[in-house]
């Protein structure tokens, strides 16, 4: 019954689309913009998620963090007062935990923010983390071979003035030579560089491990002028013991501190919280981008309606010489779908290129699902918004269509 075969109609639609290049570009533009923004925004969301996950992985597995204040609220999100550190811990807490917990490694940590000077220049307000000898290995910060070493237990207990520089910091302080063995000055105190951490990669926003420095915690106490500990990291024996260890720690800490004065959490909990925020953000942004896809679809419908009017005589002629209504319907529908597919494909390409561009300064990653989603939605939009004009065209009476001026 279908006289012009699907192939013939496809060919004829392609010819008509190619003959009207400016119309084609204008029509596809809405879809192109919609698909591009959907892909870009989901790429950024996904890239962000992957970035955060990678950063957490580099913090070390099976780590449990004890920090002052309430970090999480009851729903698992971040607590509003989380950032305010009302209390700090002391070395007594660390020894207390060490005595009561078995089979774990406990690392206290504090942070001093200070300027670091080398004989070449000064780096302003650098985060200098004070900790113990196992902090380096547990957090993948220990220098690899050829780049010096982490400090020892003896150096910590004897307050030996040594320092390990982050990869970037070492280059900034000593642009033309190796930093190892050189002296740096922090708060008037001279420290010897004994190691350089491995490069941790590009970062955005928050502090980068590459721009930090690490010193024995006893040296940090002297620099800070007090013996406060801002966080305690407990490395559980394995993944399965994380939950029970967390419970034990909470019990021990409750003996001394108020419920709201400290938080015990592991990296997966933190990761889940951050990821849920990023997910909501990504969905919201994608939703906004999807609106432009719908607007693009309405654009296609408008142009197709105009095109039906503009081509009224052509439709009348086709009907007069033997096109039955469905042949006209299918032809217009195919044209609408081709236009949205061209728009969709161009949008995917632009979205991909855009993602490559963004990647150089912001984490972004194109996912197959976003491409499939964008392409599916754009062809669906083409069909849905193509139907109305196509139906209108197929119902035109041939005589009135031919008379149309």
């Amino acid at each position: 019954m279908l006289k012009p075969s699907f192939n013939d109609l496809l060919k004829s639609s392609f010819k008509s689309i190619l003959k009207n290049k400016s119309r084609t570009i204008l029509t596809s533009l809405g879809i192109i913009i919609g698909v591009t923004s959907v892909i870009l925004l989901t790429s950024i969301g996904n890239g962000l998620k992957k970035y955060v996950t990678d950063q957490f992985d580099s913090l070390g597995a099976n780590s449990i963090f004890i920090s002052p204040g309430r970090v999480f609220n009851d729903n698992g999100g971040f607590s509003q007062s989380g950032a305010i550190m009302t209390t700090s811990f002391s070395l007594k807490d660390v020894t207390n935990l060490k005595r009561k917990l078995n089979d774990v490694e406990i690392t206290p940590a504090n942070a001093v923010f200070a300027d670091i000077s080398s004989s070449f220049n000064t780096q302003k307000t650098i985060e200098i983390d004070g900790s113990t000898q196992n902090f380096g290995v547990n957090n993948n910060l220990a220098p690899s071979e050829g780049n010096g070493r982490w400090f020892t237990e003896e150096e910590n207990s004897k307050k030996t003035p040594v320092i390990i520089l982050g990869y970037q910091l070492a280059q900034d302080l000593f642009p033309n030579s190796s930093a190892i063995g050189k002296k740096v000055i922090v708060k008037g105190k001279s420290l010897k560089v004994i190691g350089i951490s491995d490069k941790k990669g590009a970062s955005f926003g928050g502090p980068s491990f590459d721009k930090q420095a690490y010193i024995p915690i006893n040296v940090a106490f002297d620099l800070a002028g007090n013996n406060d500990i801002q966080s305690i990291i407990v490395k559980a024996k394995n993944k399965d013991s994380i939950e029970s260890t967390k419970k034990q720690i909470t019990k021990i800490m409750l003996e001394k501190y108020d419920e709201d004065a400290f938080s015990v959490f592991d990296s997966s909990q933190l990761l889940n919280s951050i990821n849920s925020i990023i997910s909501v953000l990504t969905i919201a942004l994608t939703g906004i981008a999807a609106i432009s896809l719908v607007v693009g679809g309405i654009g296609i419908m408008n142009i197709m309606l105009v095109s039906v009017t503009e081509r009224t005589r052509e439709i009348g002629l086709r009907k007069a010489i033997g096109a039955y209504p469905r042949a006209i319907l299918i032809q217009f529908l195919i044209e609408a779908v081709i236009l949205s597919c061209i728009g969709g494909a161009t949008g995917i390409l632009l979205g991909y290129l855009g993602t490559l561009g963004i990647k150089s300064f912001f984490p972004a990653q194109v996912t197959a699902s976003s491409v499939i989603l964008a392409f599916g939605v754009s062809s669906l939009v083409g069909i849905i918004f193509g139907v109305a004009p196509a139906r209108k065209a197929s119902k035109l009476s041939p005589i009135e269509a031919l008379r149309y001026e």
């Binding site: 006289k3 052509e314 002629l317 007069a320 010489i321 033997g322 096109a323 469905r326 005589i399």
Partner: protein, 234 residues
């Protein structure tokens, strides 16, 4: 007398029986065609003429199966077409009728060859034969050198010749032409009429053309004069 006798001996290809076409605008109704009966014989060259608004275009549309009468019967090759569905009518138009219009109605930005091949898209003609058929017809209307030109690159007379080639492409029995010379200068008009005569005499095709020009109408073997929806003279 001899001519009308010979007509009576021929087969009737299309017959209109008591056709009335009424247009209703608001509360007024108006009969564009009023109880018109007409026989068209195989192989004849017939013209339909009359002043503007006389109903000659409406009559043409009913003959061309482009419009349905309000009452009356249209019988094509002995078959009453009243009960046919739209897609069946479309198929009959495609195979049995060839249309030539005053405004040519060629697809813009489309080559002569593709314009001529257009009706074949909706026909059973195998794809591999389509181009050859179109080329042969373009040769017949002396446009072999213009096959890849688009309508805007052709003169009015050339465009109408492309349109005639298109009307012939499915080898129809009847060619219907609505003011085919109306948009042409007199020289091109004469050429087009010559082409119609040639198609009638050499190939025996039935030609029906509508014109308001009495002199042109008289070139036909038979002239039907219509006024106020009624046939005055056959």
């Amino acid at each position: 007398m001899t001519k009308s006798l010979s007509i009576n001996n021929r087969n009737v290809v299309l017959e209109l029986k008591n056709i009335t076409k009424t247009y209703i605008t608001g509360t007024n109704s108006f009969n564009a065609l009023d109880n018109v009966s007409l026989k068209i014989y195989e192989g004849e060259f017939m013209s339909i003429t009359g002043p503007s608004g006389s109903g000659k275009s409406t009559l043409m549309h009913i003959i061309g199966l482009l419009d349905n009468p309000t009452s009356g019967e249209v019988i094509l090759n002995g078959r009453n077409i009243a009960k046919l569905k739209e897609h069946q009518l479309a198929q009959i138009r495609n195979v049995t009728l060839g249309f030539v219009f005053q405004q040519f109605n060629l697809l813009t930005k489309t080559s002569s060859l593709d314009n001529v091949m257009l009706p074949l898209l909706y026909s059973d003609v195998p794809k591999k034969n389509r181009q050859d058929i179109a080329l042969e017809l373009l040769n017949k209307v002396n446009l072999t050198e213009k096959i890849s030109n688009t309508p805007s690159q052709l003169s009015g007379g050339q465009q109408q010749r492309v349109a005639i080639a298109r009307a012939l492409v499915n080898n129809p029995k009847i060619i219907l032409a609505d003011e085919p010379t109306g948009n042409l200068d007199s020289k091109s008009g004469i050429e087009i009429m010559k082409l119609f005569h040639q198609l009638n005499e050499e190939e025996g095709r039935t030609i029906v053309f509508v014109t308001h020009d009495m002199d042109l109408a008289k070139q036909a073997g038979r002239t039907v004069v219509i006024k106020d929806g009624k046939i005055l003279e056959k």
